[in-house]
């Protein structure tokens, strides 16, 4: 009874404040304290069920997915595109290989390179670009065949710059020799980006 008596003995204004604000707020807070843990456990269980449902739905196709991923990793390792790049041994050896490849293409068309100038090596994304400038003299049909051979080469050879100069005076039916400057680039994978059989087998856990 002491609590009720104490409340009754308050001044009217305080009594009203107590009755209209403090008591309802205390009642709501008590109710919240009681309901919050219950609601929390409900929500946690509901979330757990949703997560489990999602996990089981995804795991239903896990075996097929793993097989498919394994196949993709295998086909990636065996991809012919890797052979388009020069091996990541050293810049000088890749540059020499590039010069040899392009020189072989030129010589296949009876064109002898007059001058070879190595270009500065630069990084392009995950690749290292190795370039060489070839200066030579060739007729237009030879140029056409050289460009076609470069496009279909087993390595990816990109013509970065092409300068062709013809004599200004020539006969109508003459196939005059042209001065050719050809900047060709090859690509080498930056060390660490290449796939290894170890990493592929480590990724496959049947």
């Amino acid at each position: 009874m002491r609590l009720a008596q104490l409340a009754s003995s308050l001044p009217p204004r305080n009594r009203r404040v107590l009755a209209l604000t403090v008591v309802p707020m205390l009642a709501l807070a008590s109710l919240g304290l009681l309901l919050e843990p219950i609601w929390y456990s409900f929500a946690a269980q509901r979330d757990w069920r949703a997560e489990v449902r999602k996990t089981f739905a995804s795991a239903a196709h896990a075996t097929q997915s793993q097989t498919s991923l394994q196949e993709q990793l295998g086909s990636l390792q065996a991809s012919a595109l890797w052979t388009k790049l020069y091996p990541a041994a050293s810049d000088s050896s890749a540059g020499a290989s590039l010069q040899a490849d392009v020189s072989a293409v030129l010589r296949a068309q009876q064109v002898e390179p007059q001058m070879l100038t190595p270009l500065a090596t630069s990084a392009e994304g995950q690749f290292k670009k190795i370039g060489t400038r070839f200066t030579c003299s060739a007729r237009i049909d030879q140029v056409q065949k050289i460009l076609a051979a470069l496009a279909t080469h087993s390595r990816y050879l990109r013509v970065e710059r092409l300068k062709i100069s013809a004599p200004q005076s020539q006969q109508a039916n003459e196939n005059a020799p042209l001065a050719i400057v050809l900047d060709v680039s090859g690509y080498q994978l930056i060390r660490g980006a290449a796939p290894t059989s170890d990493s592929i087998s480590a990724g496959v856990r049947p």
């Binding site: 089981f56 200004q168 990724g203």
Partner: protein
């Protein structure tokens, strides 16, 4: 030890009882305080209700303010004029004035009788039986009001019973309601009789209900709490059981999904160079630009100097040569839509052929997909 437990248990019971009493009394205080607040608010908003007393005799009624002042002249009305009664008084507040009706004369049948000693619970039924026995009218057509006038030492009671036709009371209720009165009570007898505990004949539905926490209510509350507890325990048990039974399967499935995620990440990482190389191979180079430029040249044009160079924006082309019309050549290149920024740098008459123009132009092959 048993004594100690008994003392502890008794102390706990007393303490629980004290807390419950405190809470109940505080709850009562709070409710009564809320009621007072509501009354004060209503009074402030609508003004105080005026109260009136209507004393209905056989064919005449008298209306006067309540409490009745000695010597005040009541307003006399015919019973048939009751519907207009609200109009003849001044309404000091916005709310409907209260009205208490006292029924006298032949409209009320009074009787008194004694009841033998009996349990309190059976008193109402016993009075109903007495009323049925004593009433000349069917009991279902009557409203009954009674009071215990006296209780003797041997437990017997003296009862005063009032019976009024339901049709009379219902008519008065209807009239009061449609005339804008707030009917508070219909009491058989004189106004002075109310202080002695005269009954209110208004049907119980319009009377204020009181709620007391008896043993039945306590049992019901305990049952409800027990049911809630059982329900919560069931839900909790279900969640524990679900987690316990599914834990291993969930872990296995999550391990599989983690493996798939690892493989996917590895595949994405290792395929990135291949994707980049494919994109690089699809970008045009100087050789493909020369091929595209040659295809776009008119048959009557030929070039003697060409320089094509790849840049991040595309392939920059610079050519010099001869054509029938240098502006027409420029238009043809622009119309092909493969070249942008086509710019005729210089055009002059050819020194070798009067029908030809020597030209120098720049253009750019957009870095789209290789043809």
């Amino acid at each position: 030890m048993q004594t100690l437990n008994a003392i502890r248990s008794g102390w706990a019971r007393r303490r629980a009882s004290t807390v419950a009493t405190e809470l109940v009394s505080f709850g009562h205080w709070w409710l009564s305080e809320l009621k007072d607040c509501a009354k004060a608010f209503r009074s402030k908003l609508l003004g105080d209700n005026a109260s009136y007393v209507l004393i209905v005799d056989d064919d005449q009624a008298s209306l006067q303010p309540f409490p009745i002042e000695a010597g005040a002249q009541p307003l006399l009305l015919a019973v048939t004029a009751l519907p207009q009664s609200r109009d003849v008084i001044a309404a000091p507040g916005k709310a409907n004035p209260h009205l208490r009706i006292y029924l006298r004369g032949h409209r009320v049948l009074f009787c008194a009788f004694a009841l033998p000693s009996m349990d309190e619970r059976h008193v109402a039924d016993a009075i109903g039986l007495q009323a049925e026995r004593r009433s000349p009218i069917d009991i279902h057509e009557l409203y009954l009001g009674w009071r215990i006038a006296r209780t003797y030492e041997d437990g017997s009671r003296e009862v005063e019973l009032a019976m009024v036709r339901r049709s009379d009371v219902d008519l008065l209720r209807r009239i009061a309601s449609t005339s804008g009165w707030d009917l508070k009570a219909v009491i058989p007898g004189e106004p002075e009789a109310e202080s002695t505990g005269a009954p209110n004949l208004l049907p119980r539905s319009s009377a204020r209900l009181a709620f007391t926490m008896g043993s039945t209510e306590k049992k019901l509350l305990a049952c409800a709490c027990g049911l809630a507890l059982v329900w919560m325990l069931t839900i909790w048990g279900q969640s524990v059981y679900e987690r316990w039974t599914l834990d291993e399967q969930v872990e296995h499935a999550q391990a599989q999904l983690r493996q798939i995620a690892d493989q996917t990440a590895l595949l994405k990482k290792q395929s990135a160079p291949v994707v980049a190389l494919r994109e690089l191979m699809q970008r045009p180079d100087a050789a493909s630009a020369l091929e595209a430029f040659s295809a776009s040249l008119p048959h009557d044009a030929w070039i003697y100097d060409a320089e094509l160079q790849t840049t991040p924006q595309g392939i920059q082309i610079h050519v010099e040569g001869y054509a029938k019309s240098a502006p027409a050549l420029t238009s043809a290149l622009e119309d092909s839509r493969r070249f942008t920024s086509v710019q005729l740098v210089q055009a002059s008459a050819s020194s070798q052929n009067a029908d030809e123009q020597r030209f120098e132009l720049r253009a750019q092959l957009s870095s789209g997909v290789r043809r």
